[in-house]
Symmetry: C2
Subunit: 206 residues, 2 copies
Amino acid sequence: MNNVQEESPRDQKKNRRRFQILEIARGIIATKGLRSLKVRDVAVAAGCSVGSVYNEFGDFDGVILTVNRETVQALTVRLRGVPAEDPIRQLYGLAETYLEFFAEHANLLRSLFEHRMEDDRPYPDDILQMVMDAFALMHAPLERVLPAADDVKVALLSRTLFSAVHGIISLGLEERMVAVPPQMLRQQVEQFIDVHLAGLGIQPAR
Amino acid sequence: MNNVQEESPRDQKKNRRRFQILEIARGIIATKGLRSLKVRDVAVAAGCSVGSVYNEFGDFDGVILTVNRETVQALTVRLRGVPAEDPIRQLYGLAETYLEFFAEHANLLRSLFEHRMEDDRPYPDDILQMVMDAFALMHAPLERVLPAADDVKVALLSRTLFSAVHGIISLGLEERMVAVPPQMLRQQVEQFIDVHLAGLGIQPAR
DNA sequence: GATTCTTCTTGAACATTGTTCATTTTCAGG
DNA sequence: CCTGAAAATGAACAATGTTCAAGAAGAATC
């Protein structure tokens, strides 16, 4: 007996189009920025009417939020791929991977962090939760490195440290500001972690 | 002989209105967010036509950018007001003052950091420079605390440290994310600096 | 004070873009 | 095939940024 619901041809088509719309929207955001994303452009590129975009996503924010959701998912996959043998290396790896990912997908990350909802509608909880979870990925290595520390404190430390790294990277990659050369930024992040780990009483051992 | 150009009645009126438009725009951004700022709302509230707003600021981005410019100016004034007797206290003071200012004017700061220009027009250099200058305000106290350090490195460190603090605060105050209680955020920032100064080999001495 | 010239102001019209919805098309099930 | 439900359509609408010809206000000259 097949537990999985069979996908009718109609659903196939619908899903294919949904996917297509998202790819197009993501491409526009990534290359020209969120502010250049227009319903009509997406509809034309996807070969459908604007109505269909609305059918599928409710409103235009729905498209943006879905792209953002997938961005944080992709980020999480990348961060989870950082080797965990050595907790100290893992901490550096998480920061460097975040830097790489941010550099590769700067506009997508900006869309994730900068998009504001119309009126005062709340930002979807699941996305916020996923961001928080991603920022909690330093928890495990920090715990191994600070075995004596209180768990709640380590949780807070994880978020603090990741937020700090986020600040350094997001401002460093802000091409609006006089851009920091990418290689220099990498060094900057590494040195930042050097110092911070030292402050926590940990031997960087690089 | 009066070196200063006399202000004709016409200019007075013009300046008064310009100021008024900015106040109104700032108020809307501060209370309802940048996305709720509409030309017509501003014009009506200022008792003038939309055309006058365009006369004065060129386009709507001009209004936003002027508000942003004044935001970073106000921030700089506040940061420069931090006592400089004790360089270590000054570093804590800069971070705490930034936190206070951010908490008081969250939407204005978001407008400063999140606004993107139409098309690919560049963000005005003077604003970027002012932000950089504000973030360089940790330079002086760091230099006093690390007299042996290379000046270029201290400059970089200043920007790094301030960017890190910015990341912690801007994400911490992100009410979209499960908001960190303000008092806790203050503690979070202080502890972060504790650790980082320790890592730099400095006695926090609080 | 009248005249002229310059500048500013106005707001209707236009352009762009998000949103809706009555109509048409599609198609699975009978 | 027929039929009813679901989806797709795109013209129309709404909200909002932008322009500009015409008029008003003020300065300059006589």
